[in-house]
């Protein structure tokens, strides 16, 4: 006779609590497969833990975003935010869809060039651009977004030296009514710094002012803030047109759109509350269309959204290492996914689902990673079905930032697999090995030998 599926025995005290408006209980369905490929098969073939990216979701997210903007505004260009996920296969999906590249370091710039992005379609942002970086950008005719006056002066010198007119924009920061205000990047709008920088650029005659850029924050739950920001950039662009008879070619609204993740401390899940592409598009394009641009001078709208395009496409699969109990009797489940791989677990309550069928019985569980560090907590408190050692779990919406901010700490970084639109998995980043670490190290001769 075939044996029945096992579930460990549990007992739960019925605590009679009145409904607290802020009570947490999560209901689950198992995630047995991703894009038609069984989770078990993926783990058998590529190991655990494992990052998995759905190419289908990448493309559908991009198309949703593009449609939201292009149906409302005539000239739209997306630029893929490399820092969000710069694994080349991921970048190239977006490049195939028509995205330019948006980079914030010399390293990312080279990565974009290496992927085959034309220099003129690379936007170079960020406060740290060395002279060599800037020269590289000038040589490739890239779009340089100036962050501070020191950079502006360096660029002016380089323009002289190379007898060329670099294409530039300035980054503008402003009060959009949200907190915190990101005023450490770029030039402030309200106190006149931005206008001052624009005057300097126009009067110098050495730089070609092509755009205006802002990036008002991250995980912005308010779409109204974008409307305010777009309105202010439009005012600057119209000011430049009037004073210098010079046309600003594009307005770059940066990124900061939310994904469907739930921020820690939020009551309702992000999937219910966070704005959609249509909501953002409506706010931004309405503000631009209502500004005083004449039809022929309507600037191109550039968007650098990263998280909202890639987060939902990423999963991390893991395996239960052990079940324990705390001294107070609380369930602790240890899995092989730690905060070294999932930086985002510091600010999201990531959705976690078992990868196999289960019953309706659940336990309030602390989900710990494998590191021997007390801070290695994936979920502080989550009601999870009964997991056995060796069972698999799936953490959802991890496509943004984790595969760039992950740490090589205690363990090596796992493989990343992309499932293509036909449901075929491809390794897009190999699992690290000892040589990944040791290969970069050098041991001075006198430290070569020892006896114990």
């Amino acid at each position: 006779m075939e044996k029945l599926r096992y579930e460990r025995p549990i007992i739960r005290r019925l605590d009679s609590e009145m409904p607290n408006k802020f009570g947490m209980r999560t209901d689950y369905r198992p995630t047995t497969q991703i894009e038609g490929v069984a989770v078990k098969t993926l783990i058998e073939e590529f190991g655990s833990p494992l990052f998995v990216i759905s190419e289908k979701v990448l493309r559908s997210q991009y198309r949703k975003a593009r449609k939201a903007f292009t149906t409302r505004y005539p000239k739209v260009q997306f630029a893929w935010s490399y820092k969000t996920n710069y694994i080349s296969a991921v970048c190239n999906v977006f490049h195939q869809e028509g995205s330019w590249a948006e980079v914030v370091s010399g390293f990312e710039f080279q990565k974009a060039l290496g992927n085959g992005v034309e220099g003129s379609k690379i936007i170079f942002n960020g406060p740290d651009k060395s002279e060599e970086d800037l020269e590289m950008a000038i040589k490739h005719n890239s779009l340089i977004h100036i962050d501070h006056l020191d950079e502006l002066y360096t660029l002016t010198e380089l323009a002289d030296r190379h007898k060329t007119k670099p294409r530039v924009a300035i980054r503008v920061n402003m009060d959009t009514g949200v907190y915190p205000m990101w005023d450490r990047f770029g030039f402030n709008y309200e106190n006149g710094q931005a206008w001052d920088a624009l005057n300097k650029i126009m009067h110098s005659g050495k730089l070609e002012l092509v755009g205006l850029h802002c990036h008002i924050g991250t995980f912005m739950l308010s779409t109204q803030a974008y409307a305010v920001a777009a309105g202010k950039l439009a005012e600057l662009a119209i000011g430049v047109q009037r004073k210098f008879n010079h046309t600003i070619k594009y307005i770059d609204m940066g990124g900061g759109f939310t994904s469907k993740n739930t921020l820690k401390g939020a009551y309702l899940p992000g999937s219910d509350t966070n704005p959609s592409f249509d909501d953002y598009a409506e706010a931004i394009t309405t503000a631009l269309l209502n500004a005083d641009f004449t039809a022929e001078y309507l600037p191109t709208l550039i968007l650098e959204t990263g998280r909202a395009l890639v987060d939902e496409a990423g999963y991390v699969l893991g395996t239960v290492i052990s079940n324990k109990r705390s001294s107070k009797g609380k369930r602790i489940t240890i899995v092989d996914i730690g905060v070294n791989l999932m930086f985002t677990s510091f600010w999201y309550d990531h959705k976690v689902t078992p990868a196999q069928e289960f019953t309706q019985y659940a336990e309030d569980t602390t989900l710990n990673g494998p590191l021997c560090m007390n801070i290695d907590v994936i979920r502080e408190s989550v009601s999870l079905p009964l997991l056995n050692k060796g069972d698999n779990i799936v953490v959802h919406s991890v496509g943004a930032y984790n595969m760039t901010q992950w740490m090589q700490f205690i363990t090596l970084r796992p493989a990343v697999v992309m499932i293509d639109v036909d449901g075929k998995p491809h390794i897009i980043r190999e699992k690290e090995n000892l040589n990944t670490v040791n290969g970069q190290e050098r041991i001075p001769i006198h430290l070569n030998r020892f006896e114990l």
Partner: protein, 86 residues
């Protein structure tokens, strides 16, 4: 180990402790184990019975059983001597 005599266990896995007034729910396999405990099974007999019936190895189940009986102790539902405890 025994379950305290006055504690009622229903087939649906509902337990009521009439002395403390506390109620508990137990999943089906837990109910099955409680029944075996009440029928006087010792742990090795329970392990054998469960491992024969379900897809589980002895080590895993031994550990889970220890955890389960530990929780019965934690909730003061079990007694380890024949004398009645409150």
């Amino acid at each position: 180990m025994r379950i305290k005599k006055n504690i009622a266990i229903s087939e649906s896995g509902f337990m009521f402790n009439p002395i403390t007034g506390e109620s508990f729910t137990v999943n089906p396999i837990g109910t099955e184990i409680l029944q075996m405990i009440n029928d006087g099974f010792e742990s090795d007999q329970i392990i054998e019975a469960i491992c024969n019936k379900y897809q589980v190895d002895q080590h895993t189940f031994d550990k889970d059983l220890t955890d389960f009986t530990g929780m019965l102790d934690h909730h003061h539902l079990s007694q380890h001597h024949d004398k009645e405890e409150a």
